[in-house]
Symmetry: C2
Amino acid sequence: MENNEPNLDAVFHALADPTRRAVLQALVKGEATVSDLAAPHDMGLPAFMKHLSVLEAAGLVKSDKVGRVRTCALDPATMIATERWFEEQRAFWQGRYAQLDDLVAALQGEKK
Amino acid sequence: MENNEPNLDAVFHALADPTRRAVLQALVKGEATVSDLAAPHDMGLPAFMKHLSVLEAAGLVKSDKVGRVRTCALDPATMIATERWFEEQRAFWQGRYAQLDDLVAALQGEKK
DNA sequence: CGGATACTTCACCACATGGAGAACAATGAA
DNA sequence: TTCATTGTTCTCCATGTGGTGAAGTATCCG
């Protein structure tokens, strides 16, 4: 395993913006070019490029430029690794907060 | 179930700071006063209060003041609800990224 | 070549954030 | 009452963030 420890500062900062979360969800459907990703968002390309840079710096997205087109794709490893942070936190809580098991169960049920 | 949908902007912004994550981890060990929480951090109380406010606005921490002492505690529901966002994202990826199952398995194994 | 396409960089601006210090409650103890 | 403790509020400042528009670069098309 490579050292895939996520930079939590960078990852959470990247996720703390609806535009950037929307980009991640758009990329779930497959790779996309910068212009395609930018189209739904009401801002200029320079501003959008900054969002992409934040995502890429956080390791959530990777991109490759061929010719004049940059194609972006998800880099799921960082997301998975970040999800583990939540699991670790929860491990500490569980058993300490009596009503937490019920709460988890309720949310899991709602999920179905 | 109450409407416990977390404000992802606020939650992720709150988590995108090492001081604030440290406060959450300190609170895992139990309730604590503002001064106790602030002690390990090299900054004045006013600055620290802002961090607490961010955590409380995000719904990650709740606090109660009795006398002149404010006691803070975790509010785990928001964390649990946010963890679900990751689960939802992963649900979309799974099956789409061929190598993802292996990746998840490797990380889960490392966790043990 | 000439022009359209797809970024990319640049200079700039408004506002939010994270910190400082000083002054101000409000409570508890002597 | 006097004083220390525990926040809290205030004003200020440096920096970061998210946006703009204009100009630049590199590629593809005809």
